[in-house]
Subunit: 349 residues, 2 copies
């Protein structure tokens, strides 16, 4: 009388495959994890039974039994910046080759967010962690240490950092850049930079600029320092504000150092809109060497970072640690100073 309701399609389990292939679950498991340990005939039987019912080992079960999740986490500020997207893409590729799944967190430059994301990742059982930057809640590294899992800080590379780092020395890079501008005769600088709060990389960049200037007895005048969310727009607005102020009170800066290429591109555009020639009247530098940067007019002088390389190296380091090795973290990368069309000699006073 009663229709048997068709049970909802339930995920097949190893025992179902085992039954179909007339073997034990141990053998099923071996076929998928140590195929060389099972006789070819049986192996085929299991494989086709599995294929027929669309079975594959459920990761949660095997993670539990194996006590390995094969998950690692990447913690970045945002995917909206192509430099981090590239880093993540490269890491994912490297991990996928080794059968490891990458979990992603975008913390939006919020330390609280980063901390809770890391907690969530630990709950998911990540076996390694790559984290952008080292200015995080102290708890963050404590919590990781408590779990004793390998991790690496990316995109930042202080010589005396307590963490394994894959990146470059932000301060040194900006010192180098600033010195080059000094060599070109510039003495009056403007700076447009990302928010320094909670961002060790940006702080280091600013330190780099200041250090290089200090060598010549120079400094950044407060009204020449603009700090705000990186975007082309903020670059434009800051450049305009800086120059309009200069019209009222004294000489213009001759060189503008920007915290990244977005800001620099905005600055170039606005300078041109105000009728200034770049680089004849004003030199402008960026940082990152985005895909677009060589194509803008004039092409942007900037420092080139190989973001995919950062991702790859970070993944390799973590992979080695997962294999039980203890390799030294790779040496710092060296950003390339690429002088294109937005920098030139300081205009004669």
């Amino acid at each position: 009388m009663t229709e048997r309701a068709p049970n909802p399609p339930r995920r097949p389990r190893a025992v179902d495959v085992a039954a179909a292939a007339e073997v034990s679950t141990a053998t099923v498991s071996r076929v998928f994890n140590n195929p060389e340990k099972v006789a070819p005939a049986i192996r085929d039987r299991v494989l086709s039974a599995a294929r027929a019912m669309g079975w594959m080992p459920h990761a949660a079960g095997s993670a539990l039994a194996r006590r390995r999740t094969s998950i690692v986490g990447a913690v970045i500020p945002t995917l909206d910046n192509e430099i981090f997207a590239a880093q993540v893409g490269a890491m994912q590729t490297a991990f996928a080759e080794r059968g490891i799944t990458l979990l992603l967190s975008c913390f939006n430059y919020s330390q609280d967010q980063a901390f809770s994301d890391v907690q969530a990742m630990l709950a998911r059982g990540v076996e390694g962690l790559a984290i952008v930057g080292e200015s995080h809640k102290p708890d963050l590294f404590a919590v990781i240490a408590a779990r004793a899992i390998p991790y690496v800080v990316t995109y930042s590379h202080r010589p005396d950092s307590p963490h394994a780092c894959v990146g470059f020395d932000n301060q040194e890079a900006f010192e180098r850049l600033t010195r080059r501008l000094l060599d070109l005769g510039h003495r009056d600088f403007g700076v447009i930079i990302q928010p320094t709060a909670d961002n060790d990389r940006v702080q280091a960049r600013l330190r780099g600029i200041r250090a290089a200037l200090a060598e010549q007895g120079l400094a950044i005048r407060p009204q020449r320092l603009f700090e705000g969310a990186w975007s082309i727009d903020f670059g434009r607005r800051s450049l305009r504000a800086m120059l309009e102020a200069a019209v009222r009170s004294g000489p213009r800066p001759t060189a503008i150092i920007c915290g990244n290429d977005h800001l620099a591109i905005g600055a170039v555009l606005e300078a041109q809109a105000m009728g200034l020639r770049v680089p004849e009247d004003l030199s402008i530098t960026g940082f990152d060497d985005l895909a677009i940067s060589r194509h803008v007019a004039p092409p942007l002088t900037t420092l080139h970072i190989d973001n995919r390389e950062i991702g790859r190296l970070a993944a390799d380091y973590l992979l080695a640690r997962l294999d039980g090795l203890d390799p030294p973290p790779p040496p710092p990368l060296l950003p390339d100073l690429i002088e294109r069309g937005t920098t030139g000699p300081a205009p004669a006073a």
Copy 2:
């Protein structure tokens, strides 16, 4: 005599917390999953014991017991394109609010890769899937259907698609764009577009262009159609090749339709480098409205897509399905035609 080797720091388990708080593991679990069911005094005891030993429920164990993983997967071509990065970013935010972890796959426009990534995700127990585009191996959708998990196709929205879609009608969008160019008097078109193989969205765009042209009895001449990996460079090279060929044999095209903004930006740059005025001599259109597009000179005429909105809608749809609802997928989005500075009336012959 023998030193007891310090056991490697082992992840604490629920029973450890239970012992410390002098309760059963059931209570520990309840404190974390149904806190209102346990007396405040005990709850605090458990919570502080947990905090003291840094315990939190291990996701693999709870996934198994609960038969829910709280993971969903996003399958995109690549993070290198900011449109997908934005979509993923928005999805991740939406899911995180609901305690759901996003797993990411970048299939690099390879159907095989997409298929095996989806398999891997199913093995991880994803409870939902968002997939860019619908031109995939037929197996891919079959495998998903076999698991009976909700999914949504993003970035594409054919009226008669069998899938739930969140996106826009690529064909219609390019028809509209092309008609506008026809209204401006253009009759001789060039097209620079992404590879059409395995890419339903690009195919639809090309169909849209052809359909609109056909209404006027026009067609794309083969030597005016360039297809290749999207990049500024490919845009430049294609534009140059097209124009150089035109010098030798007959009139120049007056309008170039590009498959996305990268290609269009390249085309504009190269046209300018060749001494053509945009838009007086040549109109050029893009698609996507990248962040940079309004800033190039002249600012790019393009269609604006709200990629974050796509991500949000896809997440909302999936979330509803996970809640057991069966909402209709959202209506197609309508890309905005943004006429900026790279289009104008066709030059007088």
